[in-house]
Amino acid sequence: MERSAKRDVVVTLIVSAILIAVMPMLIGTYTLTVLVIYGMLGLSLGLIWGFGGILCFGQAAFFGLGAYVYAIAAVNIGESTLPMILAVLLPGAFAAVLGAVMFYGRLTDVYLGVITLVVTLILFKFINSTAGPQYVIGDARLGGFNGIPGFQTLNVPGDSGAYIWGDAYFYVCAVALVIVFLLVTWLLRSSFGRIAIGIRENETRMALIGYDVAARKTVLFAIGAAIAGLAGALFANWAEIVTPNLFSLGQSAEIIIWCIVGGLGTRLGPIVGAAGLAYLKFLLGQQSMIDNTLIMGLVLVIFVLFLPRGLVPAVGSLWHASVGRTARRRPANRRMRRARHG
C-alpha cells in the first residue's frame, strides 16, 4: 500500500510535468488556463459524486460563489492572498451548512438534486437582481447582470503590485490543479476516503457498522465545494470579471456532463472530460455552421450509449486487454467459481 502510494505520487508528478511543458506548444496558454480551471471544477464534482455518491446539481453554485467571494474581497482588500483563502473557505462553509441540512434531514437522490438545483437558481436570480446602487458589500457593487469588473487580480503574496498573469498565471493554475489532485488522491487513500466509498456503496450497512453517515457526507460535500470555490476564484482571475452566468443552470449541467463523459468513479476522468469538452466547445465556437450545444448533446448521447462508464475507464480496460492481463484473468476466475459451486 505504502509503496504504491509513493509510486502514484511520482507518476502523477512526472506526467503532469510533461503535460505542463508540452501543452503550451499545442494550445495557447490563455485557453489552457481555463481548461485547467474547468478540470479542477470537474474534479470537485467527480470527488463527491464519483466517490461519495452525492449527485449535486448545483456544483456551479460553489464555483460562482468562489468567484464572487474573491471579486468582492479583492475590491475591498486590494491584495489577492486573503481573498483567495476566503474564496475556498466560504463556499466550503456554505456547503457544510447546506449539506448538514440535507443529510441530517435524510434527503437522498432526487431530492438532493432538486435542492442543490434550486439553491443555484436562487443565487442566480438574486445576483441578477442586484443592479441597483443599494447592493454594495464594502466598496464592491454587486452590479446585477453586469457583474463585477476591475478587481485586483492575483499577485505575488505580500506584493500587490506584482501581478501574476499570462503564461505565469497558467503555470500557477496548473500547479494548483496538480496539488488538488494529489490531495484528492491522498484523501481517497485515507480511512476517510475509503469509508466515503463504503457509504457510496451502501449507506445502511455503513450506519449499521456504526459510522455517522450524515456527518461524513457533510464533510465530503464541503470539501468538494471548497475545491469548486478555488476553481471559481481562479476563473475570476482569468476572466477579470464575474457575472451571474457563473451560477447558470447550463454551467451546472455541463459539470455533470464532464463527469459522465470523462468517467465517474475515477480521479482523472472528470478532469479529462472537463478539459476535453471545454476545448471542443471552444473549437466549435469558432465556426457558425452547427450550433455547438447540438454537438455537446450528441457527444453526451454517444457516450451514454456506447461508453456508459466514460472515457478514462474505457481507455483503462482497453489498455488492460491489449496487455492481455484481463484476457487471462477472466476465464481463470470463472473456472474457480464453477469449481467452488459445482
Binding site: S191, I209, Y211
Partner: protein
Amino acid sequence: MAETVLETAGLTMRFGGVTASDNVDFKLKARELRCLIGPNGAGKSTFFKCVTGLLTPSEGHVFMRGQEVTGWMPHQVASLGVGIKTQTPNVMDALSVHENIWLAARRFFTPVEAVARTDDVIDRLALGSIARTDLGQLAHGERQRVELGLVVVTDPWLVLLDEPAAGMSAADVDRMTGIILEMTRSAAVVIVEHDMQFIRSIAETVTVFHQGAVLMEDHVDRVMTDETVRRVYLGKKA
C-alpha cells in the same frame, strides 16, 4: 447470574392502524443465544428494527446493558458494540471482501490493527480464496458469510441477526451454525429465523411471536411440541 444485555419494556410499534409490535417485554442475558420465530407478519422484523434503531418505536423502551437507547440512530446503537445483520444482504457490492470487512474493523480499531483483524476473520470464515473479489460477483451464500464477517470482526457483545440462513444451501448453513456458536462464546446472539431445521440445530431458548406480541418463551423442544405454537406457526388447524 449473567447480566441482562438487552431489554425491552412495553415496546409497541404502530403503522397507521396496524400494530406491528404489541407491548413486547423481552430480556436477554450475556452470552445467551435466543431465536425469535413466528409466522409472516408476526412482528419479528419490526421488533428487530426497533431494537437496532432502524425504526423508532411508538411506545416503550429499549435498554442495552442498562442504558436507554430508545430512539437512537442505528449508527449510535452499533457504536455501543452491537453487531447487526439485516434481512436482505447489506454489503458494499463494488468493493472486495477484504475492503468490506476492513471498513467494519476500522470503525473500532486503528488502520493497522484493522488489517490484522480483517485477515484473521478471513481465515476463520474461510474466505481466503475470494478475499480480493468484489461482493457483486459472489453467490448469495458467500455474501451472507461476508456479512457475518462484517459483524464478527468488530468483536461485538451483542449480535442481532435477521434471517441469516435465508436462501442458503445446507453446507452454507452448517458452516454458519459453527460461526454463530463461536460468537456466543463472547456475545449474546439474537436470531430472527424461519428455517426450523436450522433453529432445531442451534437454539436453546426460543421466543415465539404472534400478531405482534410474545406468544411464549421456552426451551426449543417444549416450543416445538406446544399445541398453540403448532397451530399459529406451523399452520395446523385445531
